[in-house]
């Protein structure tokens, strides 16, 4: 069995703060991490590798420094990593990104399972997984929160819903998008870390290695265009209620709420 995991290196958006004076992003020291949902996808693939003797390939599209995320995946125990990186890929929206990933997948040996994280914490679109499935004409199951069983030609998973879940069976190959609640990703071993940064190769593929017309890549190939970005306007802060103790403050608050007909 061969498993492909698509991951994204993202800035840890929880670490981003807004400068209250200038109302702009403070980026100093914001670390780059493997997106949480994607790390759950790597762990799921590695668990299957252990139980079903599979080869695990991890692929990402990104700038040269995304190499670091792939080495982290190697250290966790995956077999092969591929970095799709080229100026031609830059500025891609989800349509062009998924098309590029699909083009790369066509140029590798056939895979049985494709895992993607449900969504990235920097973009939050959750679109690349389903669009990848569409480009490859494969079935998809999104919001996978549990893998119940796997055979050589089918898989049964739990797909999360707003108030519960559904149990879905799919034929293979299939695209699954995972949520971080699926598992607890392993830590890389010391040996894994040393090997990943010393020995193992990161293959870098550019536009010549993916089967996609050049005009459909990157910004040019993207149907959507970002025309403006801005920092949300800061609201003027309201009133901090004074009082000698908690009771007095609570009384004032209750009166304010009553005046607004909220009580």
């Amino acid at each position: 069995m061969r498993i492909l995991v698509c991951i994204k290196q993202v800035p840890d958006t929880n670490e981003v703060k807004i400068d209250p004076k200038t109302n702009t992003l403070m980026r100093e020291g914001v670390p780059s991490i493997i997106n949480h949902d994607d790390k759950a996808a790597i762990e799921a693939a590695l668990a299957i590798k252990e139980s079903h003797d599979a080869e695990v390939i991890v692929m990402t599209m990104g700038p040269p420094q995304a190499d670091y995320a792939l080495r982290e995946a190697l250290a966790m125990g995956v077999d092969r990593v591929i970095l799709l990186s080229s100026r031609a890929f830059a500025g891609a929206d989800t349509w062009a990104t998924s098309l590029t990933l699909a083009g790369a997948i066509r140029n590798m040996p056939a895979v049985d399972l494709i895992f993607c994280g449900r969504q990235a914490i920097d973009g939050d679109t959750a679109q690349v997984g389903p669009e990848l499935a569409e480009h490859l004409d494969l079935p998809q199951v999104t919001y996978v929160q549990k893998i119940k069983s796997l055979s050589h030609n089918s898989i049964v998973v739990e797909r999360g819903l707003e108030h519960g879940y559904e149990i879905v069976e799919s034929s293979l190959p299939v695209v699954l998008t995972t949520v971080k609640e699926l598992n607890v990703p392993r830590y890389p071993s010391m040996r894994g870390i040393v090997d990943a940064f010393d020995c193992n190769e990161v293959e870098v593929w550019n536009e010549k290695k993916v089967t996609v017309p050049v005009d459909q890549l990157g910004l040019d190939g993207s149907p959507t265009k970002v025309i403006r970005t801005f920092t949300p306007p800061a609201k003027s802060p309201g009133k901090v209620l004074e009082g000698i103790n908690a009771r007095e403050k609570a009384q004032r608050l209750a009166l304010h709420l009553q005046q607004k007909n909220l009580i």
């Binding site: 958006t13 929880n14 981003v16 807004i18 980026r27 700038p63 420094q65 100026r87 830059a90 500025g91 989800t94 349509w95 998924s98 920097d122 973009g123 939050d124 679109t125 679109q127 690349v128 997984g129 389903p130 569409e134 079935p139 199951v141 999104t142 919001y143 797909r159 819903l161 707003e162 519960g164 879940y165 559904e166 149990i167 879905v168 069976e169 799919s170 910004l219 040019d220 149907p223 959507t224 265009k225 970002v226 403006r228 970005t229 801005f230 949300p232 609201k235 802060p237 309201g238 009133k239 901090v240 009771r247 609570a250 009384q251 608050l253 709420l257 009553q258 607004k260 909220l262 009580i263």
Partner: protein, 405 residues
């Protein structure tokens, strides 16, 4: 793809350095310089520059191609589960009505399911001029492949200009599949939609970079223009519309080429009560400041006293104190109650993204510097374990007075 800085116009003011979400710009030799390895071409610096010193040669003033003109009308996907129209569909009709009126075009709903024809009345009264119905046994329960096939057939036949879909666990599964097959753009989780009065394009504004910045996105040369919107973001019509003129259009569903490779074996409802945060008028939320799981008993007590429901921050959910279904924020629910009381929640930007549209916001927090106070209409600096019980008592006293009066 390359952003260009015109050195003769650049004053090295540094505005672009701050505007770049990716840290790709620095100042060197009295001018800004872009690191092409980091730049994603997002254009944030282009709009930030006050001196027109930054240009993106690849952003042409793009005129919609001729074929986009044949696309006409605004569509809303009327998501239903077990025959019940989801509230998000009605919210989208409210928003779609405004967009359709701005464009002077009809508003339609797309209804997919089995034995659901009787649901059209509700859609008419919520603003739809017409409803396209695909009624087929294959559409009884949601499956990606049957729904995507039906959706695409309807769009290809009737060519709407704009399609709005709810960002539910079903909508977010379906919309990208449909957009991709139609080779068009899709903008996720929009918080604001508007029609540009000159070029008539749909301006889609959404949070990006984890909610730290907002981006306005268009889809100039592909149709339809597709967007998803999370539940609770848009408003239903205030007054029901006249439903007597609504037009029902039954659309045949050609199932011959539909290849369904997944089977839903079972649908399991979560135990416990369903929390309907999106429609709640009053929400009392607890966060990390509660310190322990048991703190939610106090939050619940306050919520009950006010006739509201319990929300939570991600920190409280991650700590295992309360199920994810209560989470408010970027990775939880978007809410807009009349009253939102945040207790022990510092107010990270991700939390704000889910609750900043609330009518009145109250913050109770020990830390006077917590960002939540920037957003709150009323702030109480103090220990929530002292403030909240006192507040509950006050609320009950005021309610009793009101009863006696």
């Amino acid at each position: 793809m390359s952003i260009v800085i015109l050195n003769d116009k650049c004053t090295a003011c540094g505005t672009c350095v701050d505007s770049c979400p990716f840290g790709a710009i620095d100042l060197q030799n009295e001018a800004a310089r872009i690191n092409d390895n980091i730049c994603t071409g997002c254009n944030a610096c282009v709009s930030a520059c006050a001196f027109e010193a930054i240009i993106n040669p690849e952003t042409k003033e793009e005129k919609p191609e001729a074929q986009t003109a044949v696309y006409h009308g605004v569509w809303v996907f009327a998501e239903q589960r077990e025959g019940h129209i989801m509230n998000i569909a009605l919210e989208l009709l409210g928003e779609g009505r405004k967009l359709a009126d701005d464009l002077g075009v009809p508003l339609s709903a797309l209804l997919l399911g089995h034995q659901i024809e009787n649901k059209t009345e509700q859609l008419f009264s919520q603003g739809a001029d017409s409803v396209y119905v695909l009624d087929n046994e294959l559409l009884k329960e949601y499956r990606t492949e049957s729904y995507a096939a039906a959706f695409v057939q309807a769009v290809k036949t009737y060519r709407p200009d704009i399609v709005l879909i709810g960002a539910t666990n079903i909508g977010r599964d379906l919309a990208p599949r449909v957009a991709c097959r139609l080779h068009t753009g899709l903008t996720a989780d929009c918080t604001e939609l508007a029609i540009d009065p000159e070029i008539k394009l749909l301006m889609q504004t959404r949070p990006a970079f984890g909610g730290n910045i907002m981006a306005t996105i268009t889809c100039p040369n592909h149709r339809p223009q597709m967007a998803t919107v999370r539940p609770g973001v848009m408003k239903k019509l205030q007054q029901p519309a006249d439903s007597s003129k609504g037009k029902k259009i039954l659309v045949p569903f050609d199932t011959s080429k539909v290849n369904i490779r997944t089977t839903v074996r079972e649908i399991v409802q979560a135990a416990g009560k369903i929390v309907n945060l999106e429609e709640a008028q009053i929400i009392v939320s607890g966060g990390r400041g509660l310190g322990q799981k048991e703190g939610f008993a106090l939050i619940e007590e306050a919520a009950v006293a006010l006739g509201g429901v319990v929300g939570a921050s991600r920190a409280a959910v991650d700590a295992g104190w309360i199920p994810h279904s209560h989470q408010v924020g970027q990775t939880g629910k978007t809410v807009s109650p009349k009253l939102y009381i945040a207790c022990g929640i510092s107010g990270a930007i991700q939390h704000q993204a889910g609750m900043s549209k609330s009518g009145t916001i109250v913050a109770i927090n020990k830390n006077p510097d917590a960002p939540i106070f920037q957003l709150a209409d009323f702030g109480v600096v103090g220990d929530l374990y002292q403030v909240l019980p006192a507040l509950i008592e006050e609320i009950r006293a005021l309610q009793n007075l009101a009863h006696q009066a």
